[in-house]
Symmetry: C2
Subunit: 255 residues, 2 copies
């Protein structure tokens, strides 16, 4: 009997100082009890996974002491966010799956939210399917979809496009391209940014988008002080809203 690959959700407070939320504010009891039972982990980051499991242990005792758990970090992703694999990488991902082939359940966990979304975990899931390992997703918070639902923008057609280019000209061109795509398909476009660049991205969006385009920014969802501000660009320009620079944010636009 092969083990299964459980996709274990994490909280949304990664990297936010002093903001450890109650696990039960964002995770179902089932996700917490499954996490407590798993002894093998594939993790985006071993240290943050241990911190997560300490919090799990306060609600449901772990099956093994923290230091006895097998936590392996995912290999670094290839540049460009493609999911293609070189032969080498493919072997690395297969090695991560070894516990499942030995009959052990394995947990995949990201630094925040659902694994394999906006992180490199998808390749492990792909390897699991190729090896005939059952993949079991657990319900948990997705900052992207919480941001989308809070935006009031079109939730019947939307796209997540990751990060925008950092270079000014390329970024502006990309913003124009996304606005045109959004208008053509009436599709909400979602993007994220490294928190210290939140304000820079907001300024670039306000400088580039058309006044009637609707823009929504969700900051620190599920955290104290978290908010969503959603309005036409013209309103944003007058509101002079400031964004925090240490809190994750999701930006959504609909032209």
């Amino acid at each position: 009997m092969k083990g299964r690959l459980f996709l274990v959700p994490n909280t949304l407070d990664f990297g936010v100082e002093g903001a450890a939320v109650d696990l039960q504010a964002v995770l179902p009891l089932q996700a917490i009890t499954v996490a407590a039972r798993l002894t093998h982990w594939a993790a985006e980051n071993a240290k943050t996974t241990r911190a997560f499991l300490k919090r799990v242990n306060e609600i449901t005792p772990l099956a093994l002491p923290l230091q006895s758990l097998a936590i392996t970090e995912l290999p670094r992703p290839p540049k460009g966010g493609r999911t293609d694999q070189s032969a080498n990488q493919s072997a690395e991902w297969s090695r991560l799956l070894a516990p499942c082939l030995d009959g052990e359940d394995l947990g995949l966990i990201s630094e925040a939210g659902l694994p394999a979304i906006a992180d490199p975990g998808a390749m492990l899931v792909q390897a699991a399917h190729a090896a005939g390992v059952e993949v079991v997703p657990l319900s948990g918070p997705s900052s992207l979809l919480m941001a989308l639902s809070s935006s009031g923008l079109n939730g019947q057609s939307f796209a997540f496009v990751g990060y925008l280019p950092v270079e000014t000209g390329a970024r502006m061109a990309r913003i124009r391209e996304l606005e045109a795509l959004s208008m053509k398909h009436q599709q909400t476009q979602l993007m994220i940014e490294t928190p210290y660049r939140n304000s820079a991205l907001l300024q670039a969006l306000l400088a580039t988008l058309k006044p009637a385009t609707r823009l929504s920014v969700s900051c620190g969802l599920s955290l104290p002080g978290g908010f969503t501000f959603s309005a036409p660009v013209s309103t944003w320009r007058n509101a002079k809203k400031e964004l925090p620079d240490k809190v994750p944010a999701v930006f959504s636009l609909l032209a």
Copy 2:
């Protein structure tokens, strides 16, 4: 003081006979306790909302008896899934917000998963922003993102495109268009279908997509017997996998 608009997640067993899942399998305790406290609701469907609140009551007693709660159904959405509003509709949505303007918190709930995503609720959220009502999303299950994370397909760039056309020629053309978009942007394309047409959509996808395009189908996520099958189209064609016709499914492709 205005009340807030809480976006309350629902379970994923809507319309699936005999499959009522334990609320704590998919909802955080916080979502359950907030739902128990709310006395005003805007709901996609009042009957299923009452059924949901009955289950909430088994874990956390409701603040008022079920029959004393104010549950108002959302107006029917305009054709075509656009979020534009006629003046009439706009007034209807504002009326739904009245409890917030009177200082009462209001819950928005869909028949399944997160509200305002793949349902008409986004217009109420938009009205809330326009009226200066704070919007608070609660963590809960999203079948779309659980399907995406389980697919092993690209989770760094993806789009949800809703339903495909029903007519054969238009459907085939749309599948080809989505495959081309997916290849051009390396973007996973997600779609849904009315459960009794699951098999027909699968057959259309297998008949139309290129052999190397990867296709993932997630059926009944979070429910007993739920599964995700993810493989290249060529493998699907040989596997002759059958889909249940009464269980919600999410289809994802990456070319």
